[in-house]
């Protein structure tokens, strides 16, 4: 059972002054599953992600990856363990082209980062990987566009492409569809599902769109005010009265 768990938070706490944004959260993400984290605004979902991806250090608690304690590892190690992380607010290299944004992601895990006497174009394997990913996220026609001039929806695709490039085992997606035009959402979700199924990936997903969450998740963790309110399969979560209350009290309503 325990080798089934790939990524784990043990009693994580993060204190911002008086506010415990994450307040004793433990979750176990099973290998190969799509594990959604939901909860009203300010529930602590992004903070939990930040703690698990190494962007923030917890006040207390531990983060385990494949059983190894990675709590105190510097943030640039995260992807080397096999954990890719995308952001709720698009976090890319604005003046660089789509191609270069992804190429940099592809180059990072190789052993060529300090070959400063060679042109980057010499390392064709990273470029090949880049074209693969660009095609996968559907940005081929935009490859040479500066990231900052992309429409928002395409920036979200780029954000996804950037974490696909190094081919991590676990993908942490923080509201990948945030701000996307609603007709673009199904396409992106289909892509995420396809990545999970065909690539045998584990995905952690924060998402506000309940339709999406209920359809794609294997497990759902509901957070509320920094704590885990409920956890289970989609059907169980939908039927959970405490979850209904949390949402009715907040901005979102559960509707399927």
């Amino acid at each position: 059972m325990s080798s089934d768990v790939i990524f784990e938070a043990v009693n994580l706490r993060k204190q911002f002054g008086a506010l415990a944004a994450v307040d004793g959260v433990s979750i176990q993400v099973r290998r190969g599953s799509l594990h959604a984290i939901i909860g009203p605004n300010g529930a602590g979902k992004t903070t939990l992600f930040n703690l698990m991806s190494g962007n923030l250090k917890p006040t207390s608690g531990r983060v385990l990856f494949n059983g190894r304690d990675i709590t105190r590892e510097p943030v640039h190690r995260t992807i080397h363990f096999g954990i890719g992380r995308s952001f709720q607010i698009t976090n890319i290299f604005p003046s660089l082209t789509v191609f270069e944004n992804i190429r940099l992601a592809a180059q990072a895990l190789g052993r060529d980062n300090f070959k400063f006497w060679r042109s980057a174009t010499h390392f064709t394997r990273y470029e090949a990987r880049t074209w693969e990913v660009i095609e996968q996220v559907g940005l081929t026609a935009r490859a040479h566009t500066a990231a900052r001039t992309l429409p928002h929806g395409d920036q979200r695709k780029l954000e996804l492409g950037v974490i696909l490039a190094p081919d991590p085992e676990v993908l942490m997606l923080d509201e990948p569809t945030a701000g996307m035009a609603s007709e673009q959402v199904p396409e992106l979700i289909a892509l995420i599902q396809q990545i999970q199924k065909t690539g045998d990936k584990t995905i952690m997903l924060v998402e506000h769109n309940m339709n999406v969450v209920m359809n794609v998740s294997d497990t759902i963790t509901v957070m509320h005010m920094g704590k885990v309110l409920a956890e289970g399969a989609p059907a169980a979560i939908a039927a959970n009265p405490a979850v209904q209350t949390a949402y009715l009290g907040g901005l979102y309503t559960l509707s399927f």
Binding site: I79, F93, S95, L104, L109, D112, K115, W117, A120, R148
Partner: protein
């Protein structure tokens, strides 16, 4: 593929090759214009050519110095207010080792290289802790300490304190009075070599990461880059180039002025790359030329009001060419040839673009 490789290589390098050819011929062309035969130019006899060579050497020194600043600020995004120290250490060390310790030039240059590594390490010590404007202030602090040391009476024996370091015996084969033409070509060769090295660096996997750090360091970290190492690499290369520029300055100038260790001299580097185009490398060359010639021309023809007009021109350049001369030019030619944009190449950048995120 190979068929169109060489034309694109030519297109890529032609501007520089033409400039280089012009620079190689310059002393003789100027001589001929004045009616001086090439033999007289070769013999370093007095005349317009010799004067122009001197001016050009100064441009090369400024260009190399500004180039070194562009690597850390324009490419890597590290705002240092202490860059003058990188240059001044090279200049003063060269002056003092040759003058007070009688070392030959080659040994002096080894020490300069060594010092350039040390000062880059010194600046990098604070890198993991401070970012942005704080880094600027900390580097300013370190450079100010160095400036004070240069000016102090205790070290005056070696540095000449506030009057500057004078009376260094110039190496015979590079003596700016008797062997100016050779010094001109040596300075040119040094600049070209360093420019080529920098260009290779910026195009390399390492340099690309430096650009990524300038763009968004947090993202670069998330991609798995230990950004400290890349910033250190940029600092080392930058410091080396700046120190060499300083050594060249010490060889060329009759007096090593303490001004080169001041904040004002860091601002000079900043100004040059703002004029030329931040983060373009070529901008450092163009900017240095414009900077030195403007200063020379205005002083000569305008006397008193020169620095006022000078300042005004810089303000106008920065307002109307926000990406500098080279940056703006690249942007325009990119718009003209839309769809052609080179793979992976950075779009011109100006310092506050990043803040728009």
């Amino acid at each position: 593929m190979t068929a169109n490789l060489s034309p694109s290589l030519w297109r890529r390098w032609r501007g520089l090759l033409i400039t280089l050819a012009a620079a190689l011929l310059l002393p003789f062309v100027v001589g001929l214009l004045e009616g001086q035969p090439p033999t007289a130019v070769l013999a370093n006899s007095a005349g317009v050519s010799k004067f122009v060579q001197g001016l050009a050497i100064e441009v090369f020194i400024f260009a190399l110095y500004a180039l070194s600043y562009d690597l850390i600020f324009g490419i890597t995004g590290l705002l240092s207010f202490g860059h003058a120290m990188f240059f001044a250490v090279g200049a003063y060390l060269t002056g003092a080792l040759i003058k007070s310790f009688g070392l030959p030039l080659w040994q002096t240059l080894i020490w300069v290289t060594f010092a350039s590594v040390l000062q880059a390490l010194l600046f990098s010590v604070v890198l993991p802790r401070v970012k942005g404007i704080t880094f600027a202030l900390v580097t300013l602090g370190m450079a100010s300490v160095f400036h004070l040391m240069i000016m102090s009476r205790e070290l005056g024996e070696f540095t000449g304190a506030d009057v500057g370091l004078q009376g260094m015996i110039k190496p015979d084969f590079l003596n700016p009075a008797t062997e100016r033409l050779r010094l001109y070509y040596v300075a040119l060769a040094l600049l070209v070599t360093m420019y080529y090295l920098f260009k290779r660096f910026v195009d390399s996997p390492t340099g690309r990461v430096c650009v990524a750090i300038r763009e968004n360091e947090g993202r670069a970290l998330m991609l798995g880059y230990n950004t400290f190492r890349f910033k250190l690499a940029a600092l080392l290369l930058s410091s080396f180039a700046a120190a060499l520029a300083g050594a060249l300055y010490a060889i060329y100038q009759p007096i090593i002025s303490p001004h080169i260790a001041s904040l004002g001299f860091t601002v000079t580097a900043l100004l040059i790359i703002l004029i030329g185009g931040v983060g373009t490398l070529q901008g450092a060359l163009v900017g240095a030329l414009v900077y030195r010639l403007l200063d020379f021309g205005l002083r000569r023809y305008m006397g008193e009001s020169a620095s006022f007009v000078n300042g005004l021109i810089y303000v106008l350049i920065v307002i109307f060419l926000p990406y500098g001369i080279v940056g703006t030019w690249r942007m325009k030619s990119l718009q003209l040839r839309q769809g052609w944009a080179k793979i992976g190449d950075a779009i011109p950048w100006k310092p506050n673009d990043g803040a728009a995120r």
